[in-house]
């Protein structure tokens, strides 16, 4: 892999930037240095067709003058002059901007907790040949399953990420980590019928992916999505896989617990701390320290220690998620939920690892309990949900009809409509097959009385 900037270099860049900003007249300053080195091998239409390496590093600076905030960034780190020019831009932006009377300062320095299973030197040492091997295993496994399966796209990617933050309150911290993932999207094709995209993947912080399983599973899904039928319109039981759940929750529930949304009257949960908002089966933590979590880091985008925050406890709403700004507004402490898009953005409130605690039953047992219902793997159109009210109207695809405790056949053209906040109250069971998808760590969930619109 390309030589990465070391811990000391990253910290120096950030600390020097803060010093320079203060010297040039900032009341407060914060610098966030980021680097990402990513190597991928890409599968395209049934073959390994390309390999890419992306090196991205840069520095983002927040400068505060008389409560007005300026931000600037650059990816030109080699030249001191370019970095200083960027810092001056943050200052000039602050001067041009308007004061924010509710600004209560950057976060103070706090003791960080250590995190586990977030870095693996084996990932850093991988060559593109190793990734080609893994991609090839995945592809072969998929093709062996059935002739009707077409591997559309996928690949294997390995990343090394590091971040350093410094601010004028003495915060100075560095953390680094690795991520490896493999994924495959497939189609089933038979006699003029094309299935929707079927997708499987693994993502881990340690070198522990199983490309063969991903290939096999993506292919198995495509085969079972063939011979799809339309179903009747009615209210019924629906099992959501983690993909579908992540899609649905990301645009609704996860926003509803962010302090930004609550404070701005955009959350259906405003004023509902202590109230029952979900079925008793539902307990959710936002766990920024989750072992091996995709979004596990020692500190958030403002240098605040990440932590485990209880969000919903046996159906009762307990806490919202805060960054430094929203927390101080309520006289609280940040929950370590400030996220950044690398060096390119200012911090925003975002969930870390949104962990829905599993139940006891296997997924097969969960299906076995359903006399009549639907198993939904993925949703189309979840981003068009009403984020404030939680109302959604989406396509379930791929999805399978469940009859008498068994998967009967694939469905097509099936829509689901309803309200996520009602849906949370109708979760009757959770399986024990927890996995990480995006921000979500969750099992399959069984929901009663979901409106299904078919023919």
């Amino acid at each position: 892999m390309v030589v990465a900037l070391k811990k000391e270099q990253m910290l120096d860049i950030a600390e020097d930037a803060v010093d320079f900003a203060l010297k040039k007249g900032a009341d407060e300053a914060e610098a966030f240095a980021y680097q990402g080195l990513t190597t991928t091998v890409v599968i395209e239409r049934g073959q390994i067709a390309r390999s890419t390496r992306i090196v991205d590093r840069g520095l983002g600076i927040r400068a505060i003058i008389k409560k007005a905030i300026g931000f600037s960034y650059t990816n030109v780190l080699r030249s001191k002059a370019a970095v200083e020019e960027t810092i001056l831009k943050a200052l000039s932006s602050a001067k041009a901007s308007k004061p924010d009377e509710e600004w209560r300062g950057l976060p103070a320095k706090k003791q960080l907790k250590s995190v586990e299973n977030t870095y693996d030197h084996k990932i850093v040492e991988l060559h593109s040949e190793d990734l080609v091997k893994a991609a090839s295993l995945m592809l072969d496994a998929a093709e062996k399953v059935d002739k009707r399966v077409f591997p559309v796209e996928g690949g294997v990617g390995a990343s090394y990420l590091s971040r350093a933050i410094a601010n004028s309150n003495g915060v100075a911290a560095f953390d680094h980590g690795t991520i490896i993932e493999c994924s495959l999207a497939t189609l089933g094709q038979e006699a003029g019928e094309v299935t929707p995209i079927c997708f499987e993947f693994n993502v881990e912080r340690k070198y522990a992916i199983d490309p063969e399983w991903v290939g096999k599973e993506a292919a198995r899904l495509a085969v079972s999505a063939l011979k799809a039928k339309k179903i009747e319109t009615k209210s019924t039981n629906v099992i959501f896989s983690q993909f579908a759940l992540q899609d649905l929750l990301y645009f609704t529930l996860i926003n509803a617990v962010k302090a930004y949304y609550v404070q701005r009257d955009q959350s259906a949960f405003k004023g509902k701390i202590g109230e029952k908002v979900a079925s008793e089966n539902v307990t959710i933590h936002d766990d920024g320290l989750f072992q091996g979590g995709i979004r596990t880091w020692e500190f958030d985008g403002e240098g605040v220690p990440q932590q485990k925050t209880l969000v919903i406890e046996r159906g009762v709403l307990r806490n919202f998620l805060y960054d430094n700004y929203t927390a101080k507004k309520e006289g609280k402490e940040s929950t370590g939920n400030a996220t950044r898009a690398g060096y390119l953005s200012t911090p925003n409130v975002e969930a870390t690892n949104f962990h829905m605690i599993s139940g006891k039953k296997s997924p097969e047992e969960l299906i076995g309990e359903v006399d009549d219902g639907l198993l939904v793997y993925s949703l189309q159109g979840a981003h068009s949900s009403n984020p404030a009210s939680g109302e959604f109207s989406v396509v379930a695809t791929p999805a399978w009809k469940i009859e008498n405790g068994k998967i009967a056949y694939a469905t097509r053209g099936t829509m689901l409509a309803g309200n996520i906040f009602q849906l949370l109250k109708n979760i009757s069971e959770l399986a024990n097959n927890e996995r990480k998808i995006g921000q979500l760590v969750a099992p399959w969930v069984l929901v009663e009385n979901v409106r299904v619109i078919g023919k």
Binding site: T52, V55, L139, G381
Partner: protein, 461 residues
């Protein structure tokens, strides 16, 4: 710049025997603002300089990107790209080939009437503040207002080993406005986007007052709206919804990389897939439109591409690789979000051609149905399943517009639905937006008002 970039190309060809090599350079400057309820969250400025190297070695692609123009680093990166292409080629079944094209040398200089890089941040803040006041002042049930603003200026450089060298100025002005309203337990949500490649003068037409009122009014009117009935109904789609439908439900299937990946259009070239009233274009040449540019990121001139004519599929959107497979010409649809990523086939300004009906004529025969005026989001699958969420809708009762309806969405199979288009309006609108296909690019979508005999409406009532 040309010297630096051509050195990298030469290394690829001479040292590693690349069949093809290109370098894209980018020097861009961005200004961004986010206002929440009039509070300037931060005024932001950023520099993004870098180079992307793409090579074809032994029939496989290698790609590397670096945030610098330092010759030594570029040489290392191009070596990297060539070695990676070789590694990838070890498992290749069919070597990748490119259709040959004529080399182009050109310099594209933009002369905007109002260059955003010459307008002060104070002015930009004031524009967004005016919009904010209009929205929050519209009605006290409007609870929140988020305004994002972005402008991007700079130059892109393109060189390849076939003799092309292009310098092309870039300019984008974009804003997204979100408002929410609340009454009792009812929340509503309204979104608009402004986007232009001509300059800051876009705000002379889409003034803060006009856009502000449009966003706020919709959020408030939706408060009294009711949920739609679920089921199959005749619908009138407004230009904004037609645009997203053409883009999502049809356009992606006609991106040749996705067509080859098995989209339902694969065996439909030259065949009828829609009613006679349906003609679609993807056009990179609409002046000032958000999806327009002169050359794509593979050095090919953008054109107006006819996709569907009178219901028959006549074209796809191609890069040099897919054009070779179909033995046709590339259409200038290769776009990369920035230097960090590879170009892929993307849409530009995608629209349906207008016909002859007035709005009144479209609506008069509908006994009960829906008018879908503005979309919230849309998505499609390769099998032709589409979903479009609607942010502004009305009932149609006995040929007239009725009560507002909220949180509706439509779904179906693209090809089945296109045959059900039974009347097309004579008006035309093009709406700016952003499209995500692993990367984000700026586009426009549009068309006239369109009547569809029946479509599945997802509703909770």
């Amino acid at each position: 710049m040309k010297d630096i970039l051509s050195k990298a190309v030469n290394v690829a060809v001479q040292k590693y025997g690349a069949e093809y090599a290109e370098v894209r350079g980018q020097k861009l400057f961005k200004t961004m603002l986010t206002l929440k309820e009039g509070r300037a969250e931060a005024a932001k400025q950023g520099i993004e300089n870098g180079a992307a190297l793409r090579v074809l070695v032994n029939g496989a692609w290698g790609f590397a990107s670096v945030g610098t123009f330092d010759v030594e680093t570029l040489t290392m990166a191009v070596s990297d790209a060539c070695k990676m292409a070789k590694a990838a080629s070890s498992k290749l079944k069919k070597p990748i080939k490119l259709i040959s094209t004529k080399p182009i040398e050109d310099k594209v200089i933009l002369k905007p009437r109002k260059d955003p890089s010459k307008i002060s941040i104070e002015d930009k803040i004031n524009t967004t503040l005016t919009m904010n006041s209009k929205i929050l002042g519209y009605d006290n049930r409007v609870k929140s207002c988020t305004i994002d603003y972005l402008d991007l200026t700079g130059t892109n450089y393109f060189i390849n080993n076939e003799g092309s060298y292009i310098e092309q100025d870039k300019l984008y002005v974009w804003s997204r406005i979100l408002a929410t309203a609340k009454e009792g337990d009812i929340f509503t949500f309204s979104r608009e986007e402004i986007g232009s490649t001509s300059g800051y003068e876009v705000f002379d037409v889409e003034t803060p007052e006009i856009v502000g009122e449009r966003v706020a009014k919709r959020a408030v009117e939706q408060l009294k709206a009711k949920p739609p009935k679920g089921g199959t109904f005749p619908v009138i789609l407004g230009p904004n919804v037609v645009g997203v439908f053409v883009h999502e439900a049809f356009g992606h299937l006609a991106e040749a990389d996705l067509t080859l990946s098995g989209s339902v259009l694969l065996d439909k070239l030259g065949k009828k897939i829609a009613s006679n009233l349906v003609t679609f274009y993807d056009d990179g040449t609409v002046e000032g439109a958000f999806g327009s540019f002169k050359y794509d990121d593979e050095g090919i001139q953008a054109q107006k591409t006819l996709l569907v004519k009178d219901g028959v599929v006549v074209g796809l959107m191609h890069n040099r690789e897919t054009a070779q497979k179909f033995n046709t010409k590339p259409t200038g649809n290769m776009r990369a979000e920035d230097f960090r990523v590879e170009p892929i086939i993307r849409m530009r300004n995608t629209f349906m051609e207008p016909k002859d009906h007035s709005f009144e004529e479209l609506i008069e025969d509908v006994k009960f149905g829906y008018y879908f005026k503005s979309f919230r989001g849309g998505q499609a699958n390769l099998d032709g399943t589409f979903q479009v969420g609607i942010q502004e809708a009305y009932e149609i009762v006995k040929g007239e517009l009725g009560e507002p309806v909220r949180n509706a969405s439509i779904s179906g199979n693209t090809l089945e639905t296109l045959f059900k288009v039974d009347a097309v309006g004579k008006d035309f609108e093009l709406w700016p937006g952003r499209c995500g296909k692993r990367q984000t690019v700026f586009v426009c979508d549009g068309g006239p008002h369109v009547r569809v005999k029946e479509v599945l409406v997802g509703g909770s009532a």
